[in-house]
Amino acid sequence: MSHRLASLVLALVVTAFAATAASARTTAASPLTIYAAASLTQVFKALDPAPNYSFAGSNALETQIRNGAPADIFASAAPLNTQRLYKAGIVDKPVTFTANRLALIVPKSNPAGIRSIYDLRSKPVKLVVAAPAVPVGGYTLTVLRRMGLSGVLSKVVSRESDVKAVTGKVALGQADAGFVYVTDARPVSDQVTVVRIPAWAQPRVRYEIAVVSKSPNKAAARAWITMLQSARGQTALENAGFLPVPKPST
């Protein structure tokens, strides 16, 4: 009898231990939740398919995180979004991890005959851009202002919520031209033609990433960011057309 009781106790202890261990393993192995700029969609998924991703305009993601969305990491296409959350104590100190450039894309059929960004001024075009609060939308305004072409904004037919929506509209021929990152043009290179924007008019496109302060997976989140900054991560970004972060000149 005492032997059966001892066996039962042992079995209960083992079961309880196993359950606890399993629970701990589940917590440790729970995938990261990464909120990232839409322009990072392909490269992040290719680099690491394990995390739960939410891709959208950085401004929308900023709002969601501010409202308590359960993100572990926030990667933004503009420092403005991460820095605002950092100042509010919502994310840890952000780091810059890559850079990008803007391009004008037109459908392969190019019905408006756009060969240069200056053609936007002289030709009737249906132009699609991202909304001003979206990083790529803000950068678009900078390009146009720098080139003295703000007047072409009168030809905008649609303001989209993120860069993928702009790319999609042009690729599907629903617009004659649109401003996107060069990295967004690559995956649809069979559907669009890239019109270069001069280097002197390019905005300073910098991507920042930060651990969300309330994340229950901070160690794993930090490790993921370290991986992104490593040679492996940087190579993946550069292969996707992103640029290394320029070092300040001395």
Binding site: S116, Y118, T142, R145, R146, M147, G148, L149, S150, G151, R196, P198, A199, W200, A201, Q202, R204, P246, K247, P248, S249
Partner: protein
């Protein structure tokens, strides 16, 4: 509402030394899109010229005696970049910095003295052309003076690079629209 730009900042180029009165640049919010476009282009072109002078000096192909002048011209180009950057900043935009550009030079750009001179002229002439257009088209007289001054400086630099036995001096250098000047420099600006 006006801000002084010293002669040294505007025309730091050593060669020649144009007797230029102090230029007053109006508070930048008054700057139009066109005026800012020329400023942004000129800013990049100034950084490019500074990089050219640095590489030309380092190549040694223009002679050891030319090095001090080349370095001085580099300082002048950077001074011009600062002046144009101030204009852009005043208009509420963030001016480009030298590190924003990944300047690209042809393989043999500095391989010989002739190549180095040719490269310099290829960079400076479109910039001069753009400044001529700017001087002709921008609305504000003070900006016109600024661009005319920058153009005069570029003219000196082109004359110095062409040399007494070098390229034929043009009595009427051709003004270039910004789009054309930009296209000429695109391969250098990266």
């Amino acid at each position: 509402m006006t801000r002084l730009l010293s002669r040294r900042r505007l025309l730091g180029v050593a060669a020649g030394g144009v007797a230029l009165a102090t230029v007053r640049v109006p508070a930048a919010p008054a700057a139009s899109d066109d005026e800012l476009a020329y400023a942004n282009f000129g800013l990049a072109a100034s950084f490019l010229a500074a990089d050219y002078y640095l590489r030309a000096a380092e190549s040694g192909k223009l002679g050891a005696g030319a090095r001090p002048k080349l370095r001085s011209n580099r300082a002048g180009s950077l001074a011009q970049a600062r002046a144009l950057g101030d204009l852009v900043t005043g208009a509420g935009d963030t001016p480009a910095a030298a590190e924003d550009f990944d300047f690209a030079w042809p393989t043999n750009a500095f391989a010989t003295a002739a190549n180095a001179r040719r490269t310099g002229l290829a960079v400076l002439r479109p910039t001069l052309g753009a400044y001529q257009s700017a001087a002709a088209t921008v609305a504000m007289p003070t900006f016109r003076v600024l661009y005319a001054s920058l153009g005069a400086s570029l003219g000196q630099q082109i004359g110095a690079l062409a040399g007494p036995a070098g390229a034929r001096l043009e009595p009427f250098p051709v003004a270039m629209e910004l789009e054309a000047a930009s296209a000429e420099l695109e391969s250098y600006l990266g």
